[in-house]
C-alpha cells in the first residue's frame, strides 16, 4: 500500500477517534457552540493557529514565494500583524459580551431581527468564499498526491446533482468535516485544529531545518542561492520586491497600480482577521477575557514563527527544486504539464527527503507533507462549517425566527438538533458548490480577495462601532453588514480576480478591492447611523451602549464558565 494513503488514513483515524470522544461531551448548546467554555488559553491559541493557517497559507504562500520570490512574503507579514488588531480591540471585548456568534455582540445594542439577519448574511458570505477555496484546494491536492484514492472513490460518487457532477475528493473532505461538526461540535473542531497546528508546525520546522542543513546552516549561502534565482519577465532576483507587484508599469489616478494593489491587499489582511466569524467564535470557547488574551499571545507566537518559516520553504523550493520542476506529474526529473505553485512545499519535501534519506525518504516526506496539508484543510473547513451553521441556526433560526418573530421558547434539545441539521446542510451545500465552481475559481484570490475583504468591510466596522461608538445604531450596522458584503462581491466580480484566467481589461482595475470597499464599509456604517438617528428609528442602542461599554471593558456579567458558576 502506498505511504501517502496510510498517513492519510492515520490522520482520518485520529480525528475520528477524537470526534467520538467529543461527541459524548456535546449535548448542550454551550458545549456544541463553545466547547463548554472549557478550552484553556494555550489550547485555544493552538486552535486559533490551526483554524487560521489554512492550506492557502501553507501551500499557497510557499508557492507564491517559490514562484515570485520576496513579494509572496507580503502575505505572511500581513497575516501576523493582523493579530495586533485582534489583540488590542477585539479578543477580550468579544469574550466579555458575546455568547456563541459575532451577531450576539451586535444584538446587544441593536434591534435583533434586522441585525442578526444581516450578520448571518455577511457571515455566510465570508465563510462560503473561504470554504470554497479550501475545498477546491483539497480536491486538487488529493487528485495529485494520491490519484489512486480519487479513482477508487469515483464509482461511489458517480452522481450528478442538479446538473453538477460530484467530485470524489471534495466529497470525501466534505463528509469528514460534516462528521466532525455534527457529532462533535466545537469540542471536536477545537481538537482537530490543535492536532493540525502541531502537525503543521512540525512539518514546517522539519522542512526549514533540512533546507538550512542543505546550506550548512549558513544564511549567507542560502541567500546567495536565492539571489541566483532570476525572474525572466522583470530580470529581478528572488530577494527583491517587484516580481509579483510590477511597480511602475500602470497607473490609476496618477498612482502606481501595483502599489495600490499591494496596499489594498495589506488593508484586507490586517483588518480582515478581526472580522472572520470562525476566528471570532474561538474566543467564546475560553473561560474569560484573560484567557482570550492569552490565547491570542499563543496564536501570535505560533503563527509568526510559521510565517517566518514560509520564506525558507518558499525560497528553498525556488532554489532547490525550481519553478520549472514544481508540477503535478514529474517523469524522470522533468515536468509533464504546467507548473503548479501549490505543490512547492510537497515537491520541496520530496527533494529534501531524497537528499538526506534516499528514495524511501523522498516518498515518506512527500507523503507526510501531503498528510499535513490534508489535516490542515480538514481543520479549517470544520471551523468554517461551525461558523456558517452558527449563523443559520443560532442567529437566524433560533433568535430571529423562533424567539423574536414567533416569540417562542426554544429548548436546549431543539437548539442542538437544529445546529446539527444546519451543519449538515452547510456541508452538503459546500460539497455541491465546490464541485460546481471548482474548475473556474481562483482559490487564493477567493480567500485573500473576498473573504478577508468582506470581513473587514462588513464585519469589522459593525463590531468596532458596536463596542466603541455611542451613537451607532441598527441602521448603521445593517448598512455596513449588507453594503460592505455586496459592494465587495460586486467589485471583485467586475475586477480581474474572480476567475482563471484573469480578465484582460476589467471594469475595476484592482485585484484586491479592499482599498475601496473597506473605507466604504466604514462610511456606510456612519451614514446609516446618522440616517437612523434622523428618523429616530432606534433609540435603545444609545442607552444600551453604557451597558456594553462597561461589560466589554470589565467582563461584568460575561457569559459564565459553566464549571465555575
Amino acid at each position: 500500500m502506498n505511504i501517502t494513503l496510510v498517513l492519510f488514513l492515520i490522520v482520518v483515524g485520529i480525528t475520528l477517534v477524537i470526534t467520538g470522544w467529543a461527541a459524548r461531551r456535546t449535548r448542550t448548546t454551550v458545549q456544541f457552540w463553545a466547547a463548554g467554555r472549557q478550552i484553556k488559553g494555550w489550547q485555544n491559541g493552538l486552535a486559533i493557529a490551526g483554524d487560521y493557517m489554512s492550506a492557502a497559507s501553507f501551500l499557497g504562500i510557499a508557492g507564491l514565494i517559490a514562484f515570485n520570490g520576496y513579494d509572496g512574503f507580503m502575505y505572511s507579514v500581513g497575516w501576523l500583524v493582523a493579530y495586533l488588531t485582534v489583540l488590542f480591540l477585539i479578543a477580550e471585548p468579544m469574550r466579555n459580551t458575546g455568547k456563541y456568534t459575532m451577531a450576539d455582540v451586535l444584538a446587544y445594542r441593536m434591534s435583533p431581527i434586522p441585525v442578526r439577519s444581516a450578520a448571518a448574511f455577511s457571515t455566510v458570505a465570508v465563510s462560503a468564499s473561504y470554504m470554497m477555496a479550501q475545498m477546491i484546494g483539497a480536491g486538487s491536492l488529493i487528485k495529485i498526491l494520491i490519484p489512486t484514492l480519487d479513482t477508487n472513490l469515483k464509482p461511489y460518487f458517480n452522481w450528478d446533482v442538479l446538473g453538477t457532477h460530484l467530485d470524489p475528493s471534495i466529497t470525501l473532505v466534505g463528509v469528514l468535516m460534516m462528521i466532525y461538526v455534527i457529532a462533535g461540535g466545537m469540542v471536536a473542531t477545537t481538537w482537530v485544529q490543535i492536532i493540525k497546528a502541531i502537525l503543521l508546525m512540525s512539518g514546517a520546522v522539519l522542512l526549514t531545518f533540512l533546507v538550512l542543513l542543505h546550506f550548512g546552516f549558513s544564511f549567507g549561502h542560502f541567500f546567495d542561492a536565492v539571489a541566483g534565482v532570476k525572474d525572466k519577465a522583470t530580470g529581478l532576483n528572488f530577494t527583491q520586491p517587484g516580481i509579483l507587484y510590477k511597480y511602475g508599469q500602470k497607473q490609476v489616478f496618477g498612482i502606481d497600480l501595483a502599489l495600490l494593489d499591494n496596499i489594498s491587499l495589506g488593508m484586507a489582511l490586517i483588518l480582515g482577521t478581526a472580522g472572520l466569524p470562525h476566528i471570532l467564535m474561538r474566543f467564546f470557547t475560553v473561560p474569560d477575557g484573560k484567557a482570550a488574551r492569552a490565547s491570542v499571545a499563543w496564536a501570535m507566537g505560533l503563527i509568526g514563527s510559521f510565517y517566518v518559516m514560509t520564506t525558507f520553504l518558499g525560497f528553498g523550493a525556488a532554489t532547490l527544486v525550481g519553478k520549472a520542476n514544481i508540477c503535478a506529474k514529474v517523469v524522470a526529473g522533468a515536468c509533464v504539464g504546467t507548473p503548479n505553485s501549490n505543490l512547492a512545499a510537497p515537491r520541496l519535501a520530496e527533494f529534501l527527503g531524497g537528499e538526506f534519506f534516499g528514495t524511501t525518504g523522498a516518498e515518506f516526506l512527500l507523503a507526510f507533507i501531503a498528510a499535513v496539508a490534508f489535516a490542515t484543510i480538514l481543520a479549517v473547513v470544520a471551523g468554517l462549517t461551525l461558523a456558517a451553521s452558527g449563523a443559520f441556526s443560532h442567529d437566524f433560526y433560533v433568535n430571529v425566527i423562533r424567539t423574536h418573530l414567533l416569540h417562542g421558547h426554544v429548548s436546549e434539545r431543539e437548539q442542538v438538533l437544529v445546529a446539527r441539521i444546519t451543519a449538515g446542510l452547510v456541508g452538503l451545500l459546500s460539497i455541491w458548490l465546490a464541485a460546481r465552481i471548482g474548475a473556474t475559481a481562483n482559490a487564493a484570490a477567493l480567500v485573500a480577495g473576498v473573504a478577508f475583504v468582506i470581513a473587514s468591510a462588513a464585519n469589522l466596522p459593525a463590531i468596532l462601532f458596536t463596542l466603541f461608538w455611542k451613537r451607532f445604531n441598527t441602521w448603521g450596522a445593517v448598512a455596513c453588514l449588507v453594503g460592505g458584503t455586496v459592494v465587495t462581491i460586486w467589485l471583485v466580480a467586475i475586477g480581474p480576480g474572480w476567475t482563471l484566467p484573469a480578465v484582460k481589461n476589467p471594469a475595476f482595475p484592482l485585484q484586491n478591492v479592499g482599498i475601496v470597499s473597506i473605507p466604504l464599509g466604514f462610511l456606510l456604517a456612519i451614514v446609516g447611523t446618522y440616517i437612523g438617528d434622523l428618523v429616530k428609528a432606534d433609540r435603545l442602542s444609545e442607552v444600551k451602549f453604557h451597558e456594553i461599554d462597561v461589560r466589554a471593558q470589565t467582563g461584568l456579567g460575561a457569559e459564565p464558565n459553566p464549571v465555575a458558576a
Partner: protein, 129 residues
C-alpha cells in the same frame, strides 16, 4: 444616580429585547458605573496604550509596501551578503508585532486587570480597597 446603592448581585448575562424604545430607568445602573472614577481610569489607561500602539503598528506596517513601491532602490540595498533591507524590514514586522503584543499583555495583566477588578468590586456594592 447613586452607584453605592447598586444591587449587590452580579449582573446576569444579557437578555435580548424586541422593542426599540428604552424602558424608563433602563441603563441607569450601567451609566452610573460608566461615570465612576474607577471605570474612567480603566478606559483612560487602555486608551493611552491602545491608541498610540494601534497608530504605530498601522504606520509601521504600511511603510513596508510603500517602501517597496516608492523606494525600490533603497529596499534592494544589500546589508549582509544578499540579504537586503526589504527582507530585514519584513522580518522586523514580525519582531514589532511580537514586542507590541508582549507589551500589551504585560500592561493588561498588571494594570488593566487590577482596574477592571476595582470596577467590578464597585458594581458589587463593595468599596474597592
Amino acid at each position: 444616580m447613586d452607584v453605592g446603592k447598586a444591587p449587590p448581585a452580579p449582573p446576569a448575562p444579557h437578555q435580548e429585547v424586541d422593542h426599540l424604545e428604552p424602558a424608563p430607568g433602563e441603563g441607569g445602573h450601567w451609566e452610573g458605573l460608566e461615570q465612576t472614577d474607577e471605570f474612567r481610569q480603566l478606559v483612560r489607561a487602555r486608551l493611552r496604550f491602545v491608541l498610540p500602539a494601534t497608530i504605530f503598528f498601522l504606520v509601521y506596517y504600511f511603510l513596508l509596501p510603500l517602501g517597496n513601491g516608492l523606494a525600490p532602490g533603497l529596499m534592494k540595498t544589500r546589508v549582509f551578503g544578499e540579504i537586503n533591507i526589504a527582507y530585514l524590514f519584513a522580518l522586523s514586522e514580525f519582531v514589532m508585532a511580537w514586542v507590541l503584543a508582549y507589551l500589551y499583555i504585560r500592561k493588561a495583566n498588571t494594570v488593566f486587570d487590577a482596574l477592571a477588578a476595582k470596577v467590578r468590586a464597585r458594581a458589587a456594592g463593595r468599596k474597592a480597597a
